[in-house]
Symmetry: none
Subunit: 456 residues, 2 copies
Amino acid sequence: MEKVIEYLENNKEQNLQELFEFLRIPSISSQQSHKADINKAAEWLVENFKKSGIENAKLIPTDGHPLIYAEWLGAGTSAKTVLVYGHYDVQPVDPINLWDNPPFEPIIKNGKIFARGSADDKGQVFTHIKSAEAYLKTDAKIPVNLKFIIEGEEEAGETHIEEFIEQNPDLLKCDTVLISDTEWFQAGLPSICYALRGLAYFEVEVEGPNRDLHSGTFGGAVDNPIQVLAWMITQLKDKYGRITIPHFYDDVLELTEEERSNFEKLPFDLENYKKDLDVRELDGEMGFSTLEKVWTRPTLDCNGIWGGYTGEGSKTVIPSKAWAKFSCRLVPNQNAEKIIKLVLEHIKKLAPPTVKVKITSLSGANPVRIDPDNDAIRSAISAFKKAFGKDVVFMREGGSIPVVEKFSQVLHSPVVLMGFGLPNDNIHSPNESFAVDNYFGGILSSAHFYNEFSKI
Amino acid sequence: MEKVIEYLENNKEQNLQELFEFLRIPSISSQQSHKADINKAAEWLVENFKKSGIENAKLIPTDGHPLIYAEWLGAGTSAKTVLVYGHYDVQPVDPINLWDNPPFEPIIKNGKIFARGSADDKGQVFTHIKSAEAYLKTDAKIPVNLKFIIEGEEEAGETHIEEFIEQNPDLLKCDTVLISDTEWFQAGLPSICYALRGLAYFEVEVEGPNRDLHSGTFGGAVDNPIQVLAWMITQLKDKYGRITIPHFYDDVLELTEEERSNFEKLPFDLENYKKDLDVRELDGEMGFSTLEKVWTRPTLDCNGIWGGYTGEGSKTVIPSKAWAKFSCRLVPNQNAEKIIKLVLEHIKKLAPPTVKVKITSLSGANPVRIDPDNDAIRSAISAFKKAFGKDVVFMREGGSIPVVEKFSQVLHSPVVLMGFGLPNDNIHSPNESFAVDNYFGGILSSAHFYNEFSKI
């Protein structure tokens, strides 16, 4: 390990310059105009694997953007195997005028690398290649076998990696899946995320009269689809903020006293949270703290609504139709498919006889909970401690990373969410950044993880 | 009269082509992009007055769209004077994809003229110019003095005609105000309307967090502006369909036993009404028949709603803001100004502390009730009988013609609502139409009205 640490210390500038090269490629996956950049980023990464000593690296075409698969199996069949997942694609950059610096011309300011993709996820996934390189350029050997699967569609609508995982369980077979695509609770507080929420997304259409009506001629006699929709939305929660869909909470795993107590110890500042959002009061399910609400409780949120006249001025219409999009965040052990079925049934039952209601499910993803009692998590705790000199905190995350559940389900190996991002990294926003210390510390953490996991 | 009738018989095609020209001008008053079309329609109408023999016709500029004033005073100072009111502006056309034919390319199908504005109100107001023309091109004389005041803002939020009436009582002095902007109870049943509902129109904005939020990261803790808006809308009516705004019903004039009994005699077919709208059940205030609901009871209807993601597919956002437009129909003796004040106050009180709510009033109009015992109404009854060979029925109307109340109040002359529209004309909706027979019969009725009113 000493030689590895020394190598990393001596190659900081080189590792920064290589990341900068990677960040300069505008690999925006959701915009067709960047298709060539996506391919360029993928090819650049394959070359970097080879340069780093991982010769067996290649592009895998999909119906969308290519996957990258790389492996180094020199630790031998009796050694453990780590599968690293990450993504080389990035979010769009608009509104471009809000960037202080061009998004694809990385610079360092105030100890942070500013560039689109710096934290999400190029900078983070790259740590695991640079740590492997440090072993290969010193010992010519890594203590574990390494596999990498890196996708280019994480920020796009449609993704092909889940299909690839399902079809290639043997190729991806491993003892743990290591992912760095999450953030710490706050700067200086290395964090391991052990649970993610799932998602069930819906669109509902309420049709009243068969045409738009004059609100003078018909108003008072005909039910109004906007008002029916508003009523239906209101019916979905009770006055205590609980979702009223029968059996919705049946499978919800209540959080343990230990979790609750751990959350309470985290340095969460409610007043700052409200101030940042500029709201006088928060809302949500009665009986839970804010962190408990966003990490451990299922939700139902309207994401969009529309119907009738929405232009300038006034139009006295009773519209024929009104629509809404809404989604539920799901928590362990809810099942997306089951919840989708419950919601579809309930909405149909809610529909009053004055209207026709159509509801469709647009997407679903299961929640994830990783039991922290395993060797991979223990290795991550040690690695963080050795690299940053700090004790790890355990946290959950309100969002979803659908691929995590797929890895768990197909490979039956524990997933470790050992991220290096910080809450103010502005991922998905202008001025995305990645702390320089977290980049170098991330490489070191990764090197320690390989070593710790091999010995445990 | 015989020559006038013969002239009208011989000029049907000409009168149709002229109306078509008028209908081709997309004079949508509520959209700034149609400002030039409004002016074009106004100028076209002034030219048509002159061509029809009413030389004294001109545009009157206002702070909004111009008024048209025209007069023919050749009947002499001892003859009676009729003031005709109408409007040359039209409603917007969206949703445009639901029109079977382009809205500003009039065509005749199944005995109906299809075009935006055909019934509301270009086709109807035009009858009174073409009837005057028939007198002037035959006798060179009309039995009454005629004044016309035609506005271009009836379908817009803000209107300037009321101010003009207030400031010009001498110019507009008359023995009756004749208005054709209403519809018959059913085809073949000439109807005179003796009461109109008023209007109070609002737009509300609900602002939650200061930016759009990721529904995974924040969902469950932050109140959702769409859901708050839906809740506020739902709170505005109780389970019996009554509006819950305090003092809202204070001034409502209950209908008389005679009116109730007259309504019951009208050939109203509830099953057909529902079938025409394609709804299984109607709705509204408990304790009133459908006609009572739409003619004599105040309402609260959402006219539009929007907020969040409304595009294709899914976006997991909690929007910062959501909006709705809604309006109340008012009945005698409610006062628009008073109701606006009640609504603004109530909405502000409803706003929960999780959001900021802004509400603005976009327009208001008082309801109207005309006592049918007067010479002008008697002349209209005769005119209808002579033109269509049918007895008149008395009805009320759910819509609003704000100017009617102003005429009554300033000119102290009886208003006659002698409309030619039919219930399935789709005014304010796609595929607006005006029955060809009612257009020609309307011109004839107007000619008879001038004659009857001069003799009575």
